[in-house]
């Protein structure tokens, strides 16, 4: 673009040349112009240099060197620029022409090169020396001969090769081949072994030559290695680095596979192909025989083991099942192994005992055994016994159990005949038995609604009875109530009130001995339930209070001590000897020491400091907010926006309601309040709730 604009300017300038032109301008109306002379006059009067009037360069004005001379006027300068421009243009043109010429030359050369390949006679071109038939026939014959000779040579080669291939190998040809196995190993393999060439890379083959291996042997070796790895021998060898073979090896476990390979024994085949004649083999066998000394002593008879072999153990199958259990218990030396007397009265209890208790006990026994003697045999035998016992127990039939029960009951009957007679009779009658204990247990169940109602009813109907009940610590009243309800006759036992009643239960507490006793009773009956968490909290708060008290006490003590120390210092006249600055320094040091000690003590204190952290959020009315409300509140604070009008109103209303309810519940009855709220809700007056 710049070039273009320059060119434009130049052309414009050229068009305007020569500069005299503006003398010839037609002066339009209203335009005033002074002549150059007049202007020059004015200029002179103003103290300016006169105008330089450019004269058109005469062709003879060029200097001797051929360079045109430009005078120092505007026109002169412009002429110079124009000349320069022309020169530049000419140069550019010349350059372009040169380039074009070069291109043409290059193109021509390339074309020549391209067509050089096509020189000579082509297929389409006619042969220059057209053969006649005789020469052609001659040529063909020559060619045929040549071909025949070639074929014959090839045939020969082929035959030679075939002959080489068909040649039979003998054992003698194997002479000098390496075998990468130990001779003895090969001997162990049997009479005949098939050896194959080892798989190697070309490099290895170049280095070591052919090697023979037996695939069977290699396979076996690999298997052995794998088994060795599986055995997980400890890598640490306590007694030096002596390997099994007696060779001294340093950290042999880190040896490479290649190293191992290298250490393998090898031998070289001789011409015979059989081991028997192999010299090295014979030598080795002889050495082996020599090294192995044979003892002529008669081997000692082995001492029999203390434990019977596991396989020979046979747990005897006892004839009677009941007997077997007892016998086993005797064997184990555990009197509590089975507790038949305990379970005599209740079938269910008996069953439960039988199935679970002995197993557990046996296990514990085993554990004890193991802890003393780590004997696998014993353990194994015990497990077998246990398993058998369990199996047998599972098979027990109800009939058997019944029989067992009968037997046991008769045994018990021998000791206390009267009571047991009754029992057995009743058992035969198969009726419902209700005695004092079972009745009491029945009443001990969680207090249900019906129970409580019955109790209250009975209290209303028979207040005297309850009074009696309160007065006497006996379980009279309770039983009476039960009798009222269920009309079951129960034999009562009248006995003096001991610490523990005949029922085996603690004496019932009464409320006649003050608030503590009342509380204790309520507690005992489970009416007043203490919250374990609350108790824990109480304990914690107590601890905290104690901690704070201690801390305050300690602080006071420390202050006192510091005061005393300061007073002592003052008295001793220590300060008299110091300058003010020293005194200050001393005081500071003391303070620092004190602080240090205090902080150390605090650390000690804080070791057993258990803070009870509860986050409680209060709203603007001082109400406790629950988690949800607190979250909302925080969120609103964070985002800098509150809930809208409706929600705020709702909340305020809720709070007000709450307040009202609280006030009402404090004064009037809750039921009244409920009724009124329900009425308000349903917008009806006088609605009965029930």
């Amino acid at each position: 673009m710049r070039v273009m604009s320059q060119r434009d300017r130049a052309t414009r300038l050229l068009a305007r040349n020569p500069p005299i032109i503006f003398q010839q301008h037609t002066i339009m109306a209203g335009e005033s112009e002074l002549s150059i002379e007049e202007t020059n006059k004015i200029r002179l009067s103003l103290g300016l240099k006169p105008l330089k009037v450019d004269t058109a360069p005469a062709p003879g004005a060029a200097s001797a060197g051929g360079e045109p001379v430009y005078d120092d006027t505007t026109e002169g300068r412009e002429r110079r620029a124009v000349d320069n421009w022309r020169k530049h243009e000419a140069e550019l043109e010349k350059e372009a022409a040169r380039k074009k010429r070069l291109d043409e030359i290059k193109k021509a050369r390339e074309a020549a090169q391209r067509f050089r390949k096509l020189e000579g006679t082509g297929l389409a071109d006619e042969d220059e020396d057209v053969e006649d038939t005789t020469s052609w026939v001659k040529k063909m014959k020559k060619r045929q001969k040549k071909k025949a000779a070639e074929i014959a040579r090839e045939m020969e080669e082929e035959l030679a090769r075939a002959a080489a291939e068909q040649k039979e190998y003998t054992a003698a040809e194997l002479k000098g081949l390496k075998v990468s196995h130990d001779l003895s190993q090969l001997g162990e393999m049997g009479e005949e072994t098939i050896l194959t060439l080892k798989d190697t890379t070309i490099d290895e083959n170049e280095e070591e030559g052919d090697e023979l291996i037996s695939t069977d042997l290699v396979e076996r070796e690999r298997l052995m290695e794998r088994l060795d790895l599986k055995k997980k021998k400890p890598t640490y060898n306590a007694y030096g680095d002596e390997a099994e073979g007696g060779e001294k090896q340093l950290l042999s476990k880190y040896d490479d596979e290649e190293e191992k390979e290298r250490k393998k024994k090898r031998f070289v085949l001789d011409g015979t192909g059989s081991l028997a004649n192999n010299e090295t083999y014979r030598q080795q066998v002889a050495e082996k025989l020599k090294s192995k000394a044979m003892s002529l002593d008669i081997p000692k008879p082995e001492v029999a083991s203390d434990y019977i072999d596991l396989s020979t153990i046979k747990v005897k199958k006892p004839k009677k099942k009941t007997k077997s259990t007892r016998k086993r218990s005797a064997d184990n030396g555990d009197a509590l192994y089975l507790s038949p007397s305990a379970g005599a009265e209740d079938d269910n209890a008996m069953e439960v005992d039988d199935s679970t208790a002995p197993a557990v006990r046996l296990k514990r026994k085993i554990a004890e055994d193991v802890s003393f003697v780590d004997d696998e045999d014993l353990q194994a035998s015990l497990t077998i016994q246990r398993r058998a016992a369990l199996k047998k127990r599972k098979i027990l039939k109800p009939a058997d159990i019944a029989r067992q029960l009968l037997e046991e009951s008769t045994e018990n009957g021998a000791s206390t005949p009267g009571a047991m007679d009754e029992d057995t009779k009743e058992e035969e009658e198969a009726g419902l038995i209700i005695d004092e204990t079972s009745e009491f247990v029945a009443t001990l169940r969680a207090p249900t609604a019906s129970d409580r109602r019955a109790r209250s009813v009975s209290a209303q109907t028979a207040p005297e009875a309850t009074r009696v009940n309160e007065e006497s610590p006996e379980a009279d009243g309770d039983i009476d109530m039960v009798r009222d309800e269920r009309s079951v006759s129960v034999k009562l036992e009248n006995s003096p009130p001991p610490a523990i009643t005949s029922t085996g239960l603690g004496e019932e507490t009464t409320i006649s001995r003050g608030v503590g006793a009342t509380l204790a009773m309520l507690n005992q009956r489970g009416l007043l339930r203490r919250d374990p968490e609350a108790e824990k909290k109480l304990e914690l708060s107590r601890q905290r209070e104690k901690f704070l008290r201690d801390k305050r006490l300690r602080e006071i003590e420390a202050e006192e001590k510091a005061k005393a120390a300061r007073a002592k210092d003052r008295q001793s006249g220590k300060f008299e000897r110091m300058s003010a600055r020293e005194r200050e320094e001393h005081a500071r040091w003391e303070n620092k020491q004190r602080d240090l000690q205090e902080s150390r003590e605090m650390v000690q204190r804080f070791k057993d400091y258990k803070p009870d952290v509860t986050l409680s959020y209060k709203d603007e009315f001082g109400r406790e907010m629950n988690q949800k409300e607190a979250f909302k509140h925080l969120s609103h604070q964070f985002h800098g926006k509150g809930s809208g009008k409706a929600k705020t109103e709702k909340r305020l209303k809720k709070i007000e309601d709450e307040k009202k309810r609280e006030a009402a519940s404090g004064l009037g009855s809750a039921a009244d309040n409920a009724v009124s709220t329900a009425a308000r809700k349903s917008k009806q007056a006088g609605v009965r709730l029930m």
Binding site: S32, L34, I42, L46, L48, T74
Partner: protein, 73 residues
């Protein structure tokens, strides 16, 4: 030497011969000599840029045949 045309569009149109290295002040005094208004009353302008007295015509790129607006203050 260049020729510059000054026009005040009120009836005065002047062709001035001058040198490109004349300052605007010189040019103004030349114009003043021609039209009879004092040089300090003349304002030369091209569009919105007023020419300053101490700067030459060449610096303002005023060339042969350029047209300047002339105002009076």
């Amino acid at each position: 030497m260049i020729e510059v045309i000054c026009n005040d569009r009120l009836g005065r149109k002047i062709r001035m011969q001058c040198e490109p290295d004349d300052t605007i002040g010189d040019f103004k005094s030349l114009v003043a000599a021609q039209i009879g208004t004092t040089a300090d009353k003349i304002v030369l302008r091209k569009w919105y840029s007023e020419f300053k007295d101490h700067i030459t015509l060449a610096d303002y790129e005023i060339r042969n045949g350029s047209l300047l607006e002339m105002y009076y203050r």
